[in-house]
């Protein structure tokens, strides 16, 4: 099982391409500008077909804490580490 990280905003193809090829059992972790995918947008529904995490320090930095979809789980850096441990491989979309 794969952990996908996305660090680019949805205006970059990273999100769309990830959603196209990510297996159903893989998780997606939004980091850096990737956290903007947590805002309402055309890809949000497809994103939420997966287990989705977002890095809290990056969500807070960008002022998105109150705009976050409730289906997205916030993690801190320790949570990021735990996810990397839990999944077999990390695929970084950037």
């Amino acid at each position: 099982m794969i952990l996908h990280t996305i660090n680019k905003s949805p205006q970059n193809p990273a999100l769309k391409t990830c959603l196209r090829v990510a297996a159903k059992d893989s998780a997606i972790l939004l980091i850096e500008d990737g956290v903007y995918a947590a805002l309402p947008g055309p890809d949000l529904e497809a994103l939420l077909q997966h287990k989705v995490y977002a890095l809290a320090p990056d969500i807070k930095a960008r002022g998105l804490l109150e705009k976050l979809s409730p289906q997205i789980t916030l993690v801190d850096y320790s949570g990021f580490v735990a996810l990397v441990e839990q999944y077999d491989t990390v695929q970084s979309w950037y």
Partner: protein, 130 residues
């Protein structure tokens, strides 16, 4: 677990140096080992000791140097990527007859094989892209 981190972004133009640093600290705090930090592409700029940011900004190379020394981490800067981008240690500066060097404490210049070795020897290799 043994983690290795591949870092491809430069301070100021990428958040990769931040995310990788906080990840490394959290991994160590959780009892994991860092097998290797590998700085490639523009990530080699993480290893310039000449970086002189204003007082209210982080000095990213200095912060890495401290972490590397405190935890005795193997921190490799890809030598080919570094030479192209002007990050040199004393021995490379001498070899290419450059009159200065700028590699920060704790980092080592070495070959790309160290990235593959990190992939082989670590339980997880995580790319921090630019």
């Amino acid at each position: 677990m043994k983690f290795s981190l591949a870092i491809y972004g430069a301070p100021c133009s990428s958040q990769a140096p931040d995310t990788a640093y906080y990840f490394a600290k959290a991994a160590l705090a959780s009892g994991h080992d860092i097998y290797r930090l590998f700085f490639y592409m523009d990530g080699v700029q993480n290893a310039s000791r000449l970086a002189t940011p204003p007082q209210d900004e982080q000095n990213i190379p200095a912060r890495w140097s401290e972490l590397i020394k405190a935890h005795n981490i193997d921190a490799v800067v890809c030598i080919a990527a570094a030479l192209r981008r002007g990050v040199l240690d004393k021995s490379e500066a001498d070899r290419y007859e450059k009159d200065a060097n700028n590699l920060a404490d704790g980092f080592n210049l070495s070959g790309l094989g160290q990235l593959i070795d990190a992939g082989i020897e670590s339980d997880r290799l995580i790319t921090f892209g630019c």
